[in-house]
Amino acid sequence: MTDGIITIPINGEKHRIAVSDNRTLLEVLREDLSMTGTKHGCDLGECGTCTVLLDGQPVLSCVTLARQVDGREVTTIEGLSDGPDPDALQTAFAELGAAQCGYCTPGMLLSARSLLDHNSDPTTDEINQALSGNLCRCTGYSKIISAVHLAALRSAD
């Protein structure tokens, strides 16, 4: 497996990394860069836990090869907040109890961020659609849906 050098802007910071052809974006984030805010649940693209944004669109980092994202903007949970200031979604999720064990939360938040970036006032059906690829085993989703609505409402103010 040959190593190649790629440059990925992650959360606005450029990282030059040597990766083998089969290295996934998830492995680069968690293992090479110690950005462990991105979690993993299946490593097969089935659960949505490892969701990050690639040029603003949600992707599953466990089935995205690092080579594919050379030069493209990646946003992870660490980049969702503005320094110490949380994103409206992060605050709403915390306030409304949308995180229980918290393990699906980073991926869920990034899917939700992408939704709100494209649709600032989504309906419940639209939220359900946008988050349908992110499994949660704790909450039953309802507080997650409420938190997305709340964040949208606050962002509109």
């Binding site: 110690s34 097969l44 659960c47 409304l96 064990c101 918290g102 659609q129 085993r137 704790c138 507080k143």
Partner: protein, 795 residues
């Protein structure tokens, strides 16, 4: 009393919520140590075989491999129950299910570890497989545990309380029904992970995604033959448990051993497929139920038989077996009760505890049968439950002590909110409502290994600036136990939950809590925290009262101050009061503890089912079921839960919604299915769990019965709300289409088959029609409790 609380009963976020949403919560697999190696387990490819040889030389010779271990390196057996010490971390002479760990490697990276596994040469001599309940009960298949052939029985039980034959004799109507509850699994999104680090001074630290650091600690002491004082077990935040991280596991022990062999930290993180094999999920249970009723619906007697397919090892199975018989009486006044059950071994992944542990299965059977009986007798489904409902301050025939109990209120509330009475039997074809109830323990009354020590201890240390640190071994698995502890202590001291510094789940730093299982933490750790908090407060009050020259009883802790009576702004700020207490009587460090009262009845098996308090739930499900396709669409769920007192209503709602969600998953899709002994689909693609698109609105109704022994009156909520959901769905499908699906999950093929049966003049029932002809052991006859008499109830 309720209006005197300041933080109890106030909805609020988890104390760690921002850490979670900012992505900063560190789970076990997020941890990394210098020089850390990657460990992997080699799974058995055989369901049942003798291990003839294991050649590890190829793996050991591979560059980058630091250690390879096999069963010979870990010969000491273990198991969560003292009576089931039947597991090895790595199989020794035999394998008993596909996926059972056989060897383990530690290597410099994941690819090298995988290549090393491929180079291990295991020679198996296959044995005949035992794959089903019927095969386990056959006499001519090999014993999975032991030598020779015979029935693969793990444990059986036969108990009778009262006189069941007499009870049936007094019945106007008797029903017999057979049900089957499929197995399912937890699939917490965090896969199990363990990081072990053995130091040169002979001390071992294990970080593990476990619900039970204390039991892992004990297991490591035994298996590694090390004093527990040299072992430290830490449970970082756990990414979901649901009972799936409640056993000591192979990967935990192997990581420790590999670290001891290599002198380097070793992390083993299971992949998703391995989690399906590690399992410990819901037992498949076949059930036969015979119940006698008076014409008004009152139960006169019940005879309940259960057959549990336990998989390859014991795990919690003996407890699970008794749980399938123990809690039927916790909701209904059953004056004469007989329970017979058997758990068998099969060559499949090991079953254990999943949310509700052994009680969702009989609850499904019981609640469906009651619905059928109500129809037979022409009684409303709510009425037949109300006429039989257990009452507060009573004893059940099998010696369960019932204290607070708002079962009747939960039924009334959920019936009213849903409009059940005007909908049942009245909705258009395809649309239906179903009702069911349940009850669950607020903590098992006895510890897993019997002893006289507290079941939970909490320590509080207050620094001179007033900072409060709370120490507890309770592991937060998402249920919010850390927030619960912070809230209880904050209430005692007049502070905010967010003021508390929480140190949890670390065997070196925190006093014992037995673990996050059996819905015990709020009741037991909460009471220990209350005890410790009261002690701190009393010391502070004494010092302040001395200073002010008043009686300590005049003081109140609220809003960050110690105040006098109702005089807001009087007294002094909390930090000043703390310094007075330290000056007066030394370091402000106090501990508290909780031990459940003696509750066991006078019979073997009575340790299972007893609890200091029971929660009660009632559920109504409204659904649409397509008569042509059999597709079920859940439209709305109402769930009323008697929690005693909601310490934090926001987190209580979260547990109710999560329980409803998990119940709907088991009702509609989830099944741990096998092709022979091979798991049919150990992945999220094959094992379907509900998504946002499957979840209906859930209306939570919190009922507060103020338990006399719970902390501030609180009881459990983590498990109980799941119980009524599954039978409520089954009953709603019947209301919608007139068909009875007596086997979970209620998939479209079963519903279509039932509709076809109706169209051919059948009854429209799908499900098993017989149970094996098994000879249970002789009945142990148990006298009902003292004071249990003609009026049925005893206080």
């Amino acid at each position: 009393m309720a209006d005197t609380f300041t933080v109890i009963g106030r909805p609020g976020p988890r104390v760690d919520a921002m850490e979670q949403t900012m992505g900063r919560a560190m789970y076990t697999d997020d941890l990394k140590l210098p020089g850390m190696l990657v460990g992997r387990l080699l799974p058995s490819t055989q369901a049942h075989a003798v291990i003839k040889s294991i050649d590890t030389s190829g793996a050991e010779a591979l560059d980058g491999v630091k250690a390879v271990i096999t069963g010979a390196d870990l010969p000491i057996t273990y198991g969560i129950l003292p009576i089931s010490q039947d597991e090895n971390a790595l199989a020794t002479d035999r394998v008993r299910y596909i996926g059972e760990p056989v060897a383990a490697v530690a290597a410099i990276d994941a690819q090298t570890a995988q290549r090393a596994l491929d180079l291990i040469d295991v020679r198996f001599e296959p044995l005949d497989q035992v794959r089903t309940l019927d095969e386990a009960l056959a006499h001519d298949l090999p014993l999975i545990h032991g030598e020779g052939e015979g029935q693969n029985l793990h444990r059986s039980a036969a108990l009778e309380f009262g006189d069941v034959d007499e009870g049936f004799g007094a019945a106007d109507h008797v029903r017999e029904d057979v049900f089957f509850y499929k197995g399912s699994t937890h699939t917490a999104l965090e896969t199990h992970a363990a990081l072990a680090s053995y130091s040169a001074d002979g001390k071992l630290t294990l970080w593990s995604s476990t619900q039970v650091p204390h039991y892992v600690h004990r297991t490591l002491e035994k298996v590694l033959e090390m004093p527990s004082g040299r072992i430290r077990v830490i449970a970082p935040p756990v990414g979901g448990g649901f009972g799936g991280k409640t056993d000591p596991f192979s990967h935990e022990i192997a990581a420790c051993k590999l670290s001891m062999v290599t002198g380097r930290p070793v992390k083993i993180t299971l992949n998703r497929e391995e989690v399906f094999y590690a399992h410990r999920g819901r037992h498949p249970v076949l059930m036969w139920v015979r119940t006698g009723f008076e014409s008004n619906g009152r139960i006169t007697a019940m005879h309940f038989k259960t057959f549990l397919d336990g998989g390859a090892y014991g795990s919690y199975g003996v407890a699970t077996l008794y749980y399938t018989g123990a809690l039927q009486t916790s909701t209904y006044q059953i004056p004469n009760y007989r329970f017979e059950g058997v758990r068998v071994f099969t060559n499949k992944p090991v079953c254990g505890p999943k949310r509700g542990h052994g009680t969702p299965q009989p609850r499904f059977a019981l609640e469906c049968q009651l619905d059928k009986a109500a129809q037979d007798l022409g009684i409303d489904p709510a009425a037949i439950r109300l006429i039989n409902a257990v009452e507060p301050d009573s004893m059940t025939v099998n010696h369960l002590r019932i204290t607070s109990c708002a079962l009747t209120e939960t039924i009334d509330r959920v019936v009213e909110a849903s409009g059940f009475s005007s909908k049942h039997g009245e909705l258009p074809r395809g649309r239906g409502v179903g009702l069911a109830v349940g009850a669950y323990m607020s903590g098992a009354g006895l510890p897993i290994y019997w002893n006289d020590m507290p079941q939970s201890e909490v320590q509080i240390k207050v620094d001179r600036g007033g900072g409060v640190t709370v120490y507890s071994m309770a592991a937060d698995i998402g249920q919010g136990s850390t927030s619960m502890l912070a809230t209880v202590v904050a209430e005692c001291l007049g502070l905010e939950p967010s003021d508390m510094n929480m140190v949890t789940a670390d065997t070196d730093l925190t006093p014992v809590d037995l673990g996050s299982y059996s819905s015990r933490v709020t009741f037991m750790a909460g009471n220990a925290a209350l005890d410790a908090g009261d002690r701190v407060r009393n010391r502070v009050f004494t010092a302040v009262a001395d200073k002010l020259g008043i009686d300590p009883e005049e003081l109140v802790a609220r809003h960050g101050r110690i105040e006098v009576g109702t005089d807001s702004g009087s007294g002094m700020p909390w930090p000043e009061a703390v310094r007075l207490a330290v000056a007066a009587s030394g370091p402000l460090i106090e501990s508290g503890s909780y031990r459940a009262p003696e509750l066991a009845g006078p019979y073997r098996g009575s340790g299972v089912g007893i609890s200091p308090a029971y929660s009660y739930s009632a559920c109504v499900v409204e659904l649409w079921c397509d008569p042509d396709t059999g597709m079920v669409s859940i439209e709305r769920v109402w769930l009323a839960h008697d929690i005693g007192r909601a310490i934090n209503p926001l987190l209580v709602e979260g547990q109710i919604e999560g329980g409803v969600y998990m119940g709907l998953g088991e009702a509609l899709f989830e099944e741990h299915a096998f092709r022979g002994a091979l798991h049919k689909g150990p992945s999220f693609l094959d094992y379907k769990t509900p998504t946002t698109l499957d979840m209906p609105p859930v209306e939570c109704i919190i009922v507060e019965s103020d338990d006399p022994e719970g902390p501030f009156g609180a009881k459990e909520v983590g498990q109980g709300p799941l119980l009524p959901v599954i039978p409520a769905v089954a009953n709603a499908i019947h209301d919608a289409l007139g068909v009875r699906i007596d086997e979970t999950p209620f998939t479209p093929d079963k519903i279509v088959a039932a509709m076809r049966d109706v169209s051919r003049g059948g009854t429209g029932r799908i499900g098993p029609d017989r149970v094996p002809d098994f000879e249970f052991p002789p009945l142990t006859r148990v006298e009902p409790p003292d004071g249990f008499g003609a009026g049925f109830r005893a206080s």
